[in-house]
Symmetry: C2
Amino acid sequence: MALHAVILAGGAGERFWPASRNKRPKPFLEVVDGQSLLESTHRRAKRFASPGCVWVVCGRNHAAAIRRETGLPANRVLVEPLRRNTAMAMAWVAQHIAAQDPEGILTVLPSDHRIPDARAFAAAIRKAARAARSARCIVTLGVKPTRPDTGYGYIQVGPPAGRSHPGLRQVKRFVEKPDAAKARSYLRRGGFLWNAGIFVLGARTLLHELEACAPEVHRALAPMARNPRARSGAALLKAYRKAPSLPIDTAVMERSKNVWTLPVAFHWSDVGTWLSLAEELGVAPGESRVLHGELLSDDRGGNLVWGADRPIALLGVEGLAVIDTGDVLLVTNLDRSPDVRGIVADLKKKGRRELT
Amino acid sequence: MALHAVILAGGAGERFWPASRNKRPKPFLEVVDGQSLLESTHRRAKRFASPGCVWVVCGRNHAAAIRRETGLPANRVLVEPLRRNTAMAMAWVAQHIAAQDPEGILTVLPSDHRIPDARAFAAAIRKAARAARSARCIVTLGVKPTRPDTGYGYIQVGPPAGRSHPGLRQVKRFVEKPDAAKARSYLRRGGFLWNAGIFVLGARTLLHELEACAPEVHRALAPMARNPRARSGAALLKAYRKAPSLPIDTAVMERSKNVWTLPVAFHWSDVGTWLSLAEELGVAPGESRVLHGELLSDDRGGNLVWGADRPIALLGVEGLAVIDTGDVLLVTNLDRSPDVRGIVADLKKKGRRELT
């Protein structure tokens, strides 16, 4: 009946192109705090997880690097044979852990977020885990918003979850990334939290919820029933081939009646774009930040610079990200940087895989 | 009594940094018309100069490259032992040519301008040469302005030069680069021409004018008097050591009473900055230009791109010059690009000669 940490490291981080690449995606980048986002996440997980209960779910390409970086043993790095989004990843890991720890509680967390206050984070997870265990519910972390961000989904909080769970709230609804006007109204009205995409729930609770809310995902697990602890082989591949590709949010969270949220106020960022990284690093009017390389000159400031083998000089520009990875150079307006995914899509279409 | 073309190739072209460098300055760059600015200038010069009468004046570092590029024999590449600006360069070449062709007429022209209509240019020079020869005056080319440019000096035209020289005008005064309001008023009022820095004058006329207007430059020639055709040696070095560093404009043109101008209407540009190059190349809102390398993506346009070994992606930016020379990268607002000289000055101060 342990508290497990399950780090999802399957994302591509395309909005971090060209630094985030197929071969070395965003979780491996040292962009803040002097360590990779994955390593920070791993350290955070070790704070609250029971001994030997940190897991990573990832794709084939990155398993070796993840083991190297985290030092985790092979049996706790679950390698998905195919990409099937987060619902299937969580389904598999829930079945796998339930087979050895039926009462186990899972904390599922992305590998590429930033939460500097690891102590506050661990305390919140422990509190959420107590609720998840005793009420057999799903608990999502809801971060108190500090600005009308249009890059995050929101949670509208419902009534208190009950006397025995002080601080926890029922979820009234999940809302997709809003436009600027809606985001401002959420902040003004109160009662809206950022959906951090961090879930605390019993392994068996998740399996039950999948059965109820996303039966096609649950059915995909069937080939694994005979040997649920297998980490590879034909049954796993069969299961993944069968599984639909669904995010856990739409497959379960938005459908289940059994979701609570724990409002938290510590600093959190999904470091989702060059713009949000710039904010994390303190880029502001007149203030530039250099992640790598040498900046020779920058008369206006407000820029984010990632240099490679050649020094960079900026003149008369502000609010830019200049990202030189050695094999490709991106110059983007920070505000527009989320659209870098379009460039990646275009490169794929043109068969320029070496650049993606 | 030949018509000589004297190409001044001593400038550093620092406003073209980082493409223009000590080792390979601006005249050597292929930025328009598929050939280097020097090569274009040389072709233009050959159109009007008498056979065997094209000369280049340059510094030690570039003599070999200039001979390679132009195919000129060594005796027509005059290598200055020190840099002493244009007054001394013109003084030396005038003395040198006068020693073999006392009645020779010189057309002195910078090596790094752009004049696409070489035929019209040659016709103008021949006309100016006739006046310079018969009236023993200095003729400057005055380009009819097409916009209120603040990057050029202006010539205010005076009365007609006389019946025997139709089209030629006396010079009322030279004006320094004006501010925007003045430039607009020049264009509105008329009677102002861009000073192209192209002069047509007898070799001996120049020597006389130097004696009158810039006697310290004229005196510096004294050590060469015994052997005015020497192209190197102690006397030349002594002359250059003695010479003040003055531009011909302030040393002679602005002081002499003997300066006429020939108004011309053909397209001319000093290609002085990334901004003016962008204009030459047709960079406009929505229209980018790529000088070298590969541009992967550019959603807004209006940018000037010079790539090296890595492709470049632009997103949400316009009016930029992105110049990657392989060893250094410049990202500048085109409007601010003339200030790139400040970066060069700064690098020199810091001893970063490898980057200048």
